[in-house]
Subunit: 217 residues, 2 copies
Amino acid sequence: MDKNLTTKERLIQAASVIFAEKGYRDTTVAEICDAAGANIAAVNYHFGDKSNLYCQVWEYLFEQSAAKYPLPTDLIETDPEAWLRHFIRSRVEQIFDTDIHHRLPQLLHREMGEPTEMHESLFEKYLQPSHQRVSKAIRLLIGPGISENQLKLAHLNFMSLHIFLNVGHQKNKTNCQCRHRLPSTENPAELARQVEAFAIGGLLATRDLIHNTGNLS
Amino acid sequence: MDKNLTTKERLIQAASVIFAEKGYRDTTVAEICDAAGANIAAVNYHFGDKSNLYCQVWEYLFEQSAAKYPLPTDLIETDPEAWLRHFIRSRVEQIFDTDIHHRLPQLLHREMGEPTEMHESLFEKYLQPSHQRVSKAIRLLIGPGISENQLKLAHLNFMSLHIFLNVGHQKNKTNCQCRHRLPSTENPAELARQVEAFAIGGLLATRDLIHNTGNLS
DNA sequence: AAATATTTCAAATGGCCATTTGAAATGGGT
DNA sequence: ACCCATTTCAAATGGCCATTTGAAATATTT
């Protein structure tokens, strides 16, 4: 561990990796301190407690990711389909990033599996903005006929694709042989194309369903 | 708790509910015994340990579910699309079942979020069969041009829809206000129709992608 | 009803882990 | 070199929880 960094910085960096790999609960303060080359009491001295360090890790990883994978802003009104295609590609890319940037989706994956006490506030702070844009884009794509409930469900379906891709990718890293593993992926771009096709195909089919049967709530 | 049942039976029934609601780790042996009206030592006496009780719960819930929601067998060769449509409807139905039957998807949801030590063996025993049939149906639907990797990904995409529906439904039951909640669902059948449309639309779009660009690995 | 096996019980035991503590080391300013 | 603030340290502390224990109660057998 780089001794040019302060203990506090080393703790955040070590914690980022370990929290992302094992989740909040399976990570012990002791092993973070070990990895950071710090004393067992360092986390409580510098951050108050484990949960606060966890929040700082979110802050840190979010900043890193937002810089490399920004959401496009324009396009969304003029061509929602293109915006959604870009969105999903960008997410898939990030999931397969080999740098620090893949730690955010990884952490997210853990947080979904076993939500911490900080769940609500973290999601509100870091995920709400992109969530609202995706929602808007889907509404524009499907058209004005969609109800709130239908929109929420279409949104959920859309998001589930890359979220679950992440799940499969994480499983791939363990020795777990069960289903829902991803094929070993030498070519993320090709994989992204297929997910993109599925996602847009699903949304367009949803649009057809909604527009061809007028009696849905 | 019904005193006509043996302590062992009461333990399994109480554990089914609590494990499904809170997951393996967040469930304490003490609260299971409480709910079953049994002594704190009852789990270890009747089952050896907590993990073995958990496996018995899987066995119990799986039997219940398999009886009410069997997989169709024929159809799959003659009309894979219809088979897949039926499959997804059946799963959505089960997720919204109000009886004991919704506990299996709920338990599954917990097991995915924080896999236990028994993960591998449970999945192999209870999920492998349906997994293979879905795989077969998707291959038949898309056609012979699909590679193993493409099939795995299409399968993952397909499954992610109802698995994530389950996630959203579980969130709905908590007071969690965050994204990925489902709209309050007074009408599961209508919801199932929309998921079905998305799923099949996604698969067909995947088929088009694969057949229109021959150079994918 | 005596003898034996099974089941229930309340009170330990022991492991794990976040957090605390108070002393020791370190560093900057004078 | 001395003072004071900051940081590091090893060794407690205390809570939580699965599991064990050995005695008491209950059921079954003869």
